[in-house]
C-alpha cells in the first residue's frame, strides 16, 4: 500500500492503495466517482475512458503509480463546449440503450471534437472504434457526433 494524491476533476484526492491498482478502481472505489465504468479490465472496451491531461486513456489499464501529477478528468468533471454539444446530441438522438458504455463513448466523442471539429465518418470510425457498445448504438453515436459538430459550427 502507498499513499497517492490524485487530481481528479480539479480536486485533489488522497488514496492509500497498492501502487498497481488501476486508476479505474481508485476512481470508483476510493474516490467514489462511479460514472466511469468497468467493462473488460484489459483496455478492449473503452467503458473506463477518462482524460489524463486532456488525452483519452483506458483507466482500467493505467496503474495509479503511473498517474503522477497528471490531471484526471472523468465524466463527472467533463466540461467545455464539445462536451456540452456531445451530451445534448446524445439526448437529442436518444443514443443510449442500456447506457453502461456511454460515459466512455461521450468521453471519446468529446475528445474527438476537441481535436477535429468536423470529423468525417472515417474520422469517427478511427476515434471511436476503441469503445464497444454491446447494444450496438453505433448508428446513433455516429449521427450524434455529426449533430454535435454542426452545433459547434454555429
Amino acid at each position: 500500500m502507498a499513499a497517492f494524491t490524485l487530481k481528479i476533476n480539479g480536486r485533489e484526492h488522497q488514496v492509500d492503495v497498492d501502487p498497481g491498482t488501476p486508476l479505474l478502481w481508485a476512481i470508483r472505489d476510493n474516490v467514489g466517482l462511479t460514472g466511469t465504468k468497468y467493462g473488460c479490465g484489459v483496455a478492449q472496451c473503452g467503458a473506463c475512458t477518462v482524460y489524463l491531461d486532456g488525452q483519452t486513456v483506458r483507466s482500467c489499464s493505467l496503474p495509479v503509480s503511473a498517474v503522477g501529477k497528471s490531471e484526471v478528468t472523468t465524466i463527472e468533471g467533463l466540461t467545455g463546449k464539445e462536451a456540452v454539444a456531445v451530451q445534448k446530441a446524445w439526448v437529442a438522438h436518444d443514443v443510449p440503450q442500456c447506457g453502461y458504455c456511454q460515459s466512455g463513448q461521450v468521453m471519446s466523442a468529446a475528445a474527438l471534437l476537441g481535436l477535429n471539429p468536423k470529423p468525417t465518418d472515417q474520422d469517427i470510425d478511427l476515434a471511436m472504434n476503441g469503445n464497444i457498445c454491446r447494444c450496438a448504438t453505433y448508428v446513433r453515436i455516429r449521427a450524434a457526433i455529426h449533430s454535435a459538430a454542426k452545433t459547434l459550427e454555429g
Binding site: 492503495v17 462511479t34 439526448v91 447506457g99 457498445c133 453505433y138
Partner: protein
C-alpha cells in the same frame, strides 16, 4: 400462454400478498420493502400514490412516476410504460418519470408468465392495456376530485398536457394539487380507453423522448456496480474452470495477506474473497491455490461435441412436426439438397458483467440489482437466508444490458449472492461482482446446435423439407419447464424450425435433445438465433436451385402468411430490390423471420473484403402490431442488427476439454463502430395487438448475410462464426 413457476416460495409470497392487496384498494397496495408498504414510503416522500396506486406516484411537484414492472436495460420499457400511462392520463411528457417496481409477484406479475419477470420481448405486449387503464383510471379520479373541489360537473372538465381545466369557471390545476383528493375517489373498474385515432403519444414520432437518456449521457445513471452503501464488501468468487467441478481443497494464506481483504470463505460455488474494493478482491483471488474435483465435471470439448452431434443428426430425432411424407418424396427423385449448419455456444457478454448487491441484517435483508426475474430470485434469497419472504425486499435497478443473461430461471446469481452473504454472516453488505472473464467463462450460453437440412426441388418448386436438429434444452429441470416443454421436448430448441412460413407439401422437423453439462440459456431471440438462420439460409439455397428470385420465390410460398409477406414486400420496396446482384463486387441477401409475434425482414448489401464480408447497408421492415414508440422500435432494430452481425462474424465460446476458452473481448470479438452498417428501418403500419421488439431484429441478419455471400459465388457459411480465426 399462461405460465406458472413451480416454486413453493413464490406461491406463498403470492398468496400472502394477495391477502394484503385484497384488504382495500386505495393505499392498500402492499409491497414488501423492509416490511413497510411502498405507499407509506411514497407518502413520506411527499408524494401521493394514486390509483391504481400500484403503478403510479403523483408528486406534489406534478411529476408522474410510473413504476415499471419490467427491467430497463436498454430496450425501453421505462419510456414505453410511461407513454401508455401518459396517453390515457393526458399528461405532459415533460412531467413523466419512471422507476422500477419492487418485487411483488401479485401486483407486478408479467401477464404472460404469471410471475414478475421480463423476457420474450413481452413488455409492451402484456402491458399495453394494463398501463393504459392505469392512466385512464387515474385521469378519471383526478377529474372527479376536481369536480368535487370546484363544485362543477365532471363532464365539463377537460385534461390536457397535465392541466385539469374547467373552462366556464376559469378554474384549473395541475395533477399534484389534486392528487391527495383524487386518491379518495372510487377507482373506476373499467375506465374507457381512447380510440386510437385520438392518440397523441402512442405511435407518434417525436412525441416522446427516452426518459433515461440524460442520466445515461452524463454518468449519473446508477447500476449495480455503482452501489456504495457504507461498509459494502466487494466479493469475487473463484469458480471451477469446468462446469460441474467442485473445490477439493484450497489454500488462502497468500490471498488473506492482501491489504484490504477481509475474509476468504468456501461457498457452494467455489471460494469467495471479501475485500474493501474490487482490486484487493481480484488480487487476492488470483493468489488463491485451489485444487478442483472434476469427477462430476463436463470434460468434453466442442470438437468432440460436434462429432457426437453429427453422428446423431444422421438419424431422425423425436418428431416435432410432420406433414406429407418427406421420405417418399425424396425417393421419388428430383434434386436433393443437403446442408448442415453448426452454431457455436455464445456468451451474452452484456457491457455490465453479472453482479448483485445484498445487505443481510439478520432478521431482514435488502437486495438491489438488475434482476430480470425478481419472483424466483426473491424466493431463493429468502430461502438461503432462512427468512420469511416478507422480511426480504428486492429492488430491480438499471442493468448494463442483458440479452437474456439476467433472466435466470436457475436463479444462480441470486443463489450465489445469498450464499456469499450467508457465509460471512449478517451485518456486512455484499456486492457480488463477476469479472468480464467470469462472465464469459461462466456458462449460461446460447446452446451449441446443429441443423441437418434436406430439401427436394422438382420442376422449379420446393416439394420436400426436412430439418433434423441436435441441441440442448434450456428449460429442462428448471422452474419454468412447464413453459416450453411439450412431450419432453423443449420448444426453445426448435421454435421457428417447426413452423416455417412457406408452403411445402412434405415437411418434417425432428429434434435430438441432448444432455451436456454446460449451463445454457436464452440469448436474444432464443431458438430463432439458430432456427432463423437454418430456415432462411436453406430456403434461399433451395430457391436458387429452383431458379427463383429470393424475394419473389418466398412470396410465392407465403399465400397464407400476410404479415410475413407484408414485411418482405415492405423491405423490398425500401431497398428498391431488383434482384440480388447490384453492382460489381456487391450483392444483396434477404431473410424474413417471425419471432415473439413480431415480423422482421431484412435486406443486406455486402462486398467481400480481404478478411471477410463487409456489410455496407441493411434495410429492415418490422411489423410489431401497433407501434407504441416508433423511435425505440427503430433503435431496437438498429441495435439488433449490430448485435447479430458481430456474433455471426466473430463470436464463439469454444470449450477445450470442458473449459471455456474465450475470456474477454480480445478473444470474444464484438462488433465495433467501423464495422456497423448503415441501417434504414420502416415500420409497417398495423392495427394488430402490439408485440415486442427487443429480440426480433436479431434473427434475419445472419441468413441475409449468408444469402448475399452466396450471390457473390461463395458458399453460405455452414459453421458459425464466419471468421472463427478472429475469435479464440
Amino acid at each position: 400462454m399462461n405460465l406458472h413457476v413451480k416454486s413453493e416460495a413464490a406461491a406463498t409470497l403470492s398468496r400472502r400478498s394477495l391477502l394484503k392487496a385484497g384488504a382495500g384498494f386505495v393505499l392498500a397496495t402492499y409491497v414488501a420493502r423492509n416490511g413497510i408498504a411502498y405507499a407509506q414510503d411514497a407518502a413520506a416522500a411527499k408524494s401521493v400514490n394514486i390509483a391504481p396506486n400500484t403503478f403510479l406516484v403523483i408528486g406534489q411537484d406534478d411529476t408522474v412516476t410510473v413504476l415499471c414492472k419490467h427491467i430497463e436495460f436498454g430496450q425501453g420499457p421505462f419510456t414505453g410504460m410511461a407513454t401508455l400511462v401518459a396517453e390515457e392520463l393526458d399528461a405532459d411528457w415533460a412531467q413523466m418519470r419512471a422507476d422500477h417496481a419492487p418485487s411483488n409477484p401479485v401486483l407486478y406479475k408479467n401477464l404472460a408468465f404469471g410471475v414478475q419477470g421480463t423476457g420474450g420481448s413481452s413488455a409492451i405486449a402484456n402491458s399495453y392495456e394494463q398501463m393504459r387503464k392505469v392512466g385512464a383510471a387515474a385521469r378519471a379520479m383526478l377529474v372527479a376530485a376536481a369536480a368535487d373541489e370546484w363544485k362543477v360537473p365532471a363532464e365539463e372538465i377537460t385534461v390536457e398536457k397535465g392541466i385539469i381545466r374547467h373552462t366556464s369557471s376559469g378554474k384549473q390545476s395541475g395533477f399534484g394539487a389534486l392528487a391527495a383528493k383524487a386518491m379518495q375517489q372510487p377507482v373506476p373498474a373499467n375506465p374507457p380507453l381512447k380510440d386510437p385515432s385520438a392518440f397523441r403519444l402512442i405511435g407518434k414520432d417525436g412525441a416522446v423522448t427516452r426518459l433515461d437518456s440524460v442520466a445515461k449521457s452524463n454518468g449519473s445513471a446508477e447500476y449495480t456496480l455503482d452501489i456504495k452503501d457504507p461498509g459494502t464488501l466487494t466479493v469475487l468468487v473463484a469458480r471451477s474452470p469446468r462446469f460441474g467441478g467442485k473445490v477439493a481443497s484450497f489454500d488462502a494464506a497468500a490471498a488473506k495477506a492482501v491489504p484490504g481483504v477481509i475474509d476468504v470463505r468456501e461457498v457452494p460455488n467455489g471460494v469467495a474473497v471479501y475485500a474493501e474494493g474490487f482490486w484487493p478482491a481480484k488480487t487476492a483471488r488470483d493468489l488463491l491455490k485451489i485444487s478442483w474435483d472434476d469427477s462430476k465435471a463436463e470434460m468434453r470439448g466442442t470438437a468432440q461435441l460436434l462429432e457426437e452431434f453429427r453422428a446423431r443428426a444422421k438419424k431422425q430425432g423425436a418428431l416435432v412436426k410432420q406433414e406429407g411424407d418427406v421420405d417418399a418424396e425424396i425417393a421419388k427423385g428430383g434434386r436433393l439438397i443437403e446442408t448442415e449448419f453448426v452454431f457455436p455456444y455464445l456468451a451474452h457478454a452484456p457491457m455490465e458483467p453479472i453482479n448483485a448487491f445484498l445487505h443481510w441484517k439478520g432478521d431482514t435483508a435488502s437486495a438491489r440489482y438488475g434482476s430480470q426475474f425478481p419472483t424466483p430470485d426473491h424466493a431463493v434469497i429468502a430461502q438461503v437466508l432462512g427468512l420469511d419472504i416478507a422480511k426480504v425486499d428486492l429492488k430491480t435497478i438499471l442493468a448494463g444490458g442483458s440479452f437474456g443473461r439476467r433472466a435466470q430461471q436457475s436463479t444462480h446469481v441470486a443463489l450465489e449472492l445469498a450464499q456469499v452473504a450467508k457465509a460471512i454472516g449478517p451485518g456486512r453488505p455484499v456486492k457480488l461482482v463477476w469479472t468480464r472473464e467470469d462472465d464469459m467463462r461462466g456458462g449460461y450460453y446460447r446452446p451449441f446446435s446443429l441443423h441437418r437440412m434436406r430439401g427436394v426441388v422438382r420442376d422449379g418448386k420446393i416439394v420436400a423439407w426436412s430439418d433434423t436438429i441436435v441441441g440442448q434444452s434450456i428449460m429442462k429441470g428448471s422452474a419454468f419447464e412447464a413453459m416450453t416443454m411439450k412431450n419432453g421436448l423443449d420448444s426453445t430448441a426448435y421454435e421457428g424450425s417447426n413452423e416455417i412460413p412457406y408452403q411445402v407439401p412434405n415437411f418434417r422437423c425432428d429434434l435430438h435433445q441432448v444432455d451436456v453439462g454446460v449451463p445454457v440459456l436464452w440469448w436474444r431471440s432464443v431458438g430463432h438465433t439458430h432456427t432463423g438462420y437454418a430456415v432462411e439460409a436453406f430456403v434461399d439455397q433451395l430457391l436458387e436451385a429452383a431458379g427463383q428470385d429470393p424475394v419473389e420465390g418466398r412470396l410465392a410460398m407465403m399465400a397464407d402468411k400476410p404479415r410475413h409477406a407484408g414485411v418482405l414486400k415492405a423491405v423490398a420496396k425500401l431497398a428498391d430490390w431488383k434482384g440480388a446482384k447490384v453492382e460489381a463486387g456487391r450483392a444483396r441477401g434477404v431473410a424474413v423471420v417471425e419471432s415473439f409475434n413480431t415480423f422482421v425482414a431484412q435486406v443486406v448489401e455486402l462486398s467481400m473484403g480481404a478478411e471477410g464480408p463487409v456489410v455496407h447497408k441493411v434495410w429492415c421492415a418490422v411489423d410489431c402490431g401497433v407501434a407504441v414508440n416508433p423511435d425505440i422500435i427503430r433503435a431496437q432494430m438498429e441495435g439488433g442488427i449490430g448485435f447479430a452481425l458481430g456474433h455471426i462474424l466473430y463470436a464463439q465460446q469454444p470449450l477445450d476439454e470442458g473449459r471455456p476458452v474465450a475470456g474477454n473481448f480480445d478473444s470474444y470479438r464484438s462488433l465495433r463502430i467501423n464495422e456497423m452498417p448503415e441501417v434504414e428501418v420502416v415500420i409497417v403500419p398495423s392495427t394488430e395487438k402490439p408485440s415486442g421488439v427487443g429480440e426480433p431484429g436479431v434473427p434475419p441478419l445472419g441468413p441475409a448475410v449468408a444469402n448475399a455471400m452466396a450471390k457473390l459465388g461463395l458458399p453460405r457459411p455452414t459453421q458459425l462464426p464466419i471468421r472463427p480465426g478472429d475469435s479464440a
